[in-house]
């Protein structure tokens, strides 16, 4: 299977690999996937309380090149966005940006799930209601 240049780049030079303090109130952590499926992503965001802007994002992923690239790209996009804008990131944006083939689309879906899980974790910690995301028809 040929990987796109962008996937290879994210794999070789992943952006924002790391860990934020999950105990902190400003940090939202999303852990999605399962070892049985061969894909586990952990995405974390650090939110500036005053402005509601995501000032830092980190990821760690157990998965194939496309999964790593999807989560790495996600952290790039998250930095500097407001929570609202972050919640609107769609997996197909990731698919387009990385040129993911059909068999790898599920990697982008997982990344989107991770973003939403991180956002909700932050909201929960800060006494906000968790956002309800409608189930997409087709994965």
């Amino acid at each position: 299977m040929a990987y796109s240049e962008k996937v290879i780049d994210h794999y070789s030079n992943p952006k924002n690999v790391g860990t934020l303090d999950k105990g902190s109130k400003n940090v939202g952590t999303g852990l999605v996937g399962a070892p049985e499926c061969g894909d586990v992503m952990r995405l974390q965001i650090e939110v500036d309380d005053a402005t509601g802007i995501i000032k830092d994002a980190k990821f760690k992923t157990f998965g194939c090149g496309s999964a790593i690239a999807s989560s790495s790209l996600a952290t790039e996009w998250l930095k500097g966005k407001s929570i609202t804008d972050a919640a609107n990131i769609d997996n197909m944006d990731i698919v387009e940006e990385l040129n993911l083939p059909p068999v790898k689309i599920h990697c982008s879906v997982l990344a989107e799930d991770a973003i939403k899980a991180a956002i909700n974790d932050y909201r929960k910690k800060n006494g906000l209601e968790e956002l309800v995301f409608e189930e997409k028809g087709v994965h």
Binding site: L31, G33, K60, G63, C64, D113
Partner: protein, 405 residues
Amino acid sequence: MLKLPVYLDNNATTPMDPRVLETMIPFFTEHFGNAASRNHPFGWEAEEAVDYAREQVAKLIGADPKEIIFTSGATEGDNLAIKGVYEMYAAKGNHIITANTEHKAVLDTCKHIEKTGGEVTYLSVKEDGLIDLAELEAAIRPTTILIALMYANNEIGVVQPVKEIAAIAKKHGVLFFSDATQAVGKIPVDVLKDGIDIMAFTAHKMYGPKGIGALYVRRKNPRVKVTAQMDGGGHERGMRSGTLNVPGIVGFGKACELCRLEMEADTARISVLRDKLETALLKLDEAYVNGNREHRLPHVSNISFKYVEGEGLLMGFNKNIALSSGSACTSASLEPSYVLKALGLGDDLAHSSLRFGLSRFTTEEQIDYTIEQITNTVLKLREMSPLWEMFKEGIDMNNIEWAHH
């Protein structure tokens, strides 16, 4: 000088030995006759070349040349053996015993047999990949006509207790068929000493050309017959019609001869390299060899690196090192290796495996390079793995509720 890329996927296929290619070339444009042309020198010399090659093939496995049927490969051999026995011995019974770690060519053929009314028992294997002999014997019924168990496994390299299996088969009057594709030419295989009645193997796993293989069909004690699956001119004693692939057969014969003469020296050298590779990689934390390490092909190693995923691993060096993985992501079906699952491996370890298959052409330099590349990639990916971090923190991942689809 290290030539890249390094090829360590020799269980998938092998490069042809240049000496094999050399013997084949005259048979394409010069001695191009049909071996069945009885009436002129073109046919006679083709037939002579085939006879000689047949002898070489037979010699490698301790058989008589009359017991060798040329096929297009091991998949065809597996089909011919299983379907051929099923149809020929229908009066005796319709039950076949095999194992869930067999190659798809055997498993799929057995599924076909079931669809046509036959019964198949799929034995499980032990954690180390070996058959439980007591279970095998217990599975035999009065209607059992065939035991189909591979000599050596293509993914993990384990070698089954073939002599013991043969003894059980003989005791109960059941034919024993073995798909020996990964074993022939690599370890000493002797159909008489090993007690095998029917055996399939192929040239392209032993430095020969693709598209040519053989099925050994015993003629004495007992005399075995298989119903042809390819009807036509009655070639190969009526068991496999079709014009013989003369250049392929010539190459196959040469490949067998080289293996017979060079196997001992090759094995001594290759097993040292395999052990060096394995020992070095096992120095990494949480690295595990899959399958029995004692009863195993000398050039194969299947290792799982916990907490990193197989396809991601391969991506770290697959431009420069050719390997395969048991990970779901590398299969078209997105299912992890069924062989590794049959060993009882959890999905996470099946997804994290790499299969190494060394060859006559593997050098120590290539092995050293591979050790370095894989070690670096595993370490890098572990730094990126949330599972590795959790493991390091002492979190029990079996108790986590994973949020997934």
